[in-house]
Structures are given as C-alpha cells and as structure tokens.
Amino acid sequence: MIRAVRMMVTCHWSARRIQRYLDSDPAALLDPSEIRRLEAHLAQCDKCSTAVDEFRQIDSALSRWALRRMPDRQSVSHMHDVVDRLVRGELQ
C-alpha cells in the first residue's frame, strides 16, 4: 500500500518534468539530481515510460512535418535579394 502510494506520488512528480526532460530546452533544464530520479522512475514505471515513448513518437512525426515543409525556394531567394538591396542602400 505504502509502496503504491509512493509510486503514485513519483508518477505525479515525473509527469510534471517529462516534457522538460525530453526537450532539454536551455530555458528549463532539469538539474542532474532530477534527471537521475526521473530516469530511475522510468526504469520501473510502465505507465510513465509508455508516456515518454508516445511523446517521442509524436515529436518525431511532427519533426517530419518540418522536413516536408521547407520555405519556398523563391521566397528564400527573394529575401536574400532584399538583404542585398538593403546592404547596397537601394531599399530604406
């Protein structure tokens, strides 16, 4: 019983950190002790490790949208032309 409650508390604690763990964004890094505690929990909790796996699948699929949707080449070339004209003083 105590073990189950402790696990639930850790699941709640982990759920609040899983996104930051997966992103490693410089604005919200977990500290090393948080990472150790989270990884130890993931190693023994099917529910949380499944969540991590599913978030990774979603993230990977969304990244593919970016690859399929690069900016239009004409637009990129036009913007480089705008930069050239600004630098040459032809645009203000």
């Binding site: 979603i58 699929a61 399929r68 637009s75 705008v82 600004l86 630098v87 203000q92």
Partner: protein
Amino acid sequence: MQADAFRRYVEPEIEVLLRVARTLVGSSDVDDLVQETLMRAWRAMDRFDGRYPRAWLLTILRNTNINMGRRMRPYSVDDVASYTDAKPAFGITPLSTEEQVMAAFLPDDLERAVQSLDTKFRTVLLLVDVDELTYAEAAEALGVPVGTVMSRLSRARERVRRHLQPNFEAASAGRQR
C-alpha cells in the same frame, strides 16, 4: 559595419523567419511580413547588441505583424493540412512502407489531432515541435512569458497524445499478439 553585422546576424535567419511567419499568419502573407521585418531590422541594426539575434528578429517579426494591422490567424485547418500535404523537400527520404506499418499512427491521425487543438495551443506546438524554436524564441514570437509557452506546450502535447490513445493501444495490442 552595419552591413557586416546584418549579413552575419540576420541573413542566416531568413528561413526561420519564413517558417515562423507562415505559422503565425498563414501562407499568403508570409513574404510581405518577412520583407518588412528585414527592413525594420536593418533600421534597428545600430541598436542591436549582437546577443540572441533570432530572438531579437522574432520580436521584430511579431511587432511588424501587429503594426501591419494583421491579426495573427495561425493554423487554420488548411494551414495544418499544408504542412502534411507538402511534397518532401529535396533530399528527404519519405517514410518507407515498413516504417508506415510500424508507426502507431498515420500522418492523417496526427493531422486530425493537431487540428482539434485550440488555436493558442496549436500555435505553440507548431512553433516548438515543427518550426523547432526554443521555449524562449517561441515566447518572443508570441509575446508571452516562457512559462506560458511551457504550460501551453505541455497541454497541447497531452491533448494530442490523448487524441491518439486508441492508435497507441491498438499498436500495443498488435505487438503483444
């Protein structure tokens, strides 16, 4: 001097500006918005300290969008479809048949899940997970605190995951058979 700094800090960000502009205003107004952003950045160059050029440019992009009198109307249903219907960029290998069979969900499932999100959640998801901005950059692009980006992103991902739950469960059952 101004020209050197402009080429060094601004020119490498052109593609990011085009991607973010499309997410924020839709595909039709992107070129006007980015061109005006570049012109404003050029005029503001002498006040830029060289730190975080992308964040600086995204702030200019957001203000330019507001000043041009456009309401942000991101991620209409059509815009989301345009992400997924586009032809793969040159050099990008499409998913193999095997990868498609192994995937828990199909591109259409994901597209529906993202379309079902409220606008403010969908924007953050697209900016961070598709346009690959950092939390701080997404915050600059939207004019909200980093904490708001994080909470919206977290809820957006949770909702997408919940939407796809039947697919994940079916895939899991398939693996256990």
